[in-house]
Amino acid sequence: MAYDKFTVLTSTAVPLPTENVDTDQIIPARFLKATERAGFGDNLFRDWRYDVEGNPKPDFVLNDPTYSGKILVSGKNFGSGSSREHAVWAIYDYGFRCVVSSFFADIFKNNCLNIGVLPVTVSPEFADKLLSAIEADPSTEIEVNLPEQKITLLSTGESESFDINEYKKSNMQNGFDDIDYLLNMSSEIDAFVADR
């Protein structure tokens, strides 16, 4: 399905410096029982966000009104574990459009790109800089510029460039998905199968 186009995003950000955040934390398995893609944001980080009675845990960052925004800045090795795309659906549905980390798990990164959430890999030093800046001043804005492949901490002007392959970049900028591309290749795929 086509998704929102992504070009330049300027937003405040939510800091989550924990390392090795796996997709079971992003959305626990017991919340994967839907047959439609709807409402997953309510259970984003469910067991960190709510206690067993369903009351918000005040010390978790999503329950802290100080922080908000469309960018999630996280610790290294974000999105490891299960291939559940529901994890990215939950992130998207909650309102994030970009996740920044010094290191992403592979499948998670692919899943992000497939639904229009931009994963931005920065150096560990720049990730620390972003986290410190946000924690010092939650109104700090970050600009994520996809056409220029550049992420900037607007308060200081410090920036870093990030990698994305041209194909995925173009998809993100135009809101195209891979299926649109693959469906156009139908005859080439048929020929490939015929040769096997």
């Binding site: 893609r37 995925k168 290749m185």
Partner: protein
Amino acid sequence: MEKTTLFDKVWDSHVVKSVPAGPDVFFIDKHFIHEVTSPVAFLNLEKRGIGVKYPHRTIATPDHNVPTIDQDQTIKDKLSRMQVEKLRENCNKYGVELHDLGTSHHGIVHVIGPELGVTQPGMTIVCGDSHTSTHGAFGAIAFGIGTSEVEMVFATQCIMQSKPKKMRISVEGELGKGVTSKDIILYIISKISAAGATGYFVEYAGSAIQSLSMEARMTICNMSIEMGARGGLIAPDQTTFDYLEGKQYAPKGEEWDKAVAYWKTLKTDEGASFDKEYNFDAADIEPMITYGTNPGMGIKVVGSIPTTDGMEGSNKTSYLKSLTYMGFQPGEPVKGKQVDYVFVGSCTNGRIEDIRAVAEFVKGRKKAENITAWIVPGSREVEKQAHEEGLVKILEEAGFELRQPGCSACLAMNDDKIPAGKYAVSTSNRNFEGRQGPGARTMLASPLTVAAVAVTGKITDPREVFEN
């Protein structure tokens, strides 16, 4: 001629087209699906007004959310029932082969694929489940995908995929007594970390790997994802061919001979290069157990939890958060700690050899009073064999509760949940926070170690119980 790896040979022969400055259009031979990650993909096909391009290349089974008792009755949990019914409806509508609850080949998707002989060397296999890497044991390229990619495979039998880098992990030598393939993989992950192979596809090699049975190889490949690797594979050999011969979907007659001749070419050329290589000595590997909340946090059963020496910043904070969750202190030994539950099952260790190993160990013994012991076969076929071999009787006499096939307490989507704060020693693959139920504390180990824990009620080195 250019020297290539096993991985190159299989990958390159499945590239329909390479997109300039982009991924490869990658052809998929076999697609496994289950009830949890397929419904939205089917729904999107409907929205686009398209169907499943090659339905005979997809095989379905409900495994993730299914109850492990009373499988002949209607599923009580409404949402689980709806997902399973949706799977039936979709398979019926699009002509996809379904191994439904209660049928002779129902089971965990990664257990039934090999069992049916669907999984074969040289294939590309995907499934909306990260443990698809299991099938790499046959010399196939097999990996987990997201639901958008499930939809791509339905629609076109291809996905867009950049070729990962190549890593070889060699384990040479003979394994010690009481050391299993689960210990090998937990050892490897503890050495290279839960993210150490991210961006890579791994080939496992060396005499210790070659000496393993197919089922033991599957355990190793299964956990490739737990070090971040997209997948892991092992070159097919006589062990592989012997396992496959006669299986339902394996080639027959002349086709079999042709297939074996091709499969024999599937190996890494001498001198082919890898982006990264690790070499381990089998003699260094002892029974392993995890103490933290990712599979890289593993130690010898007789070892101590690492101290925080040399850690700082978010690394140290994350480490201590993990130990707090587990109720452990840095520096303390794990041996002797009291345990509440044991779980034998999952796509990692829910096959017949695993159940045999546990049964052999607990034969004539009883589980400890403080232990609740669940054993969940990976498939109906495994369950049937366990009955026929008299293993079920042994296990029940020892106080184990045998359940029906499914993913069960590995991810606790059904009612098989470990209560908050309780300790479970589990043959499954993930010790993440809450993985086996909210607040549950999971320690991963081999079926042998789990059997030793079941009998003694506490963390125990299986070699010590052997000696008695």
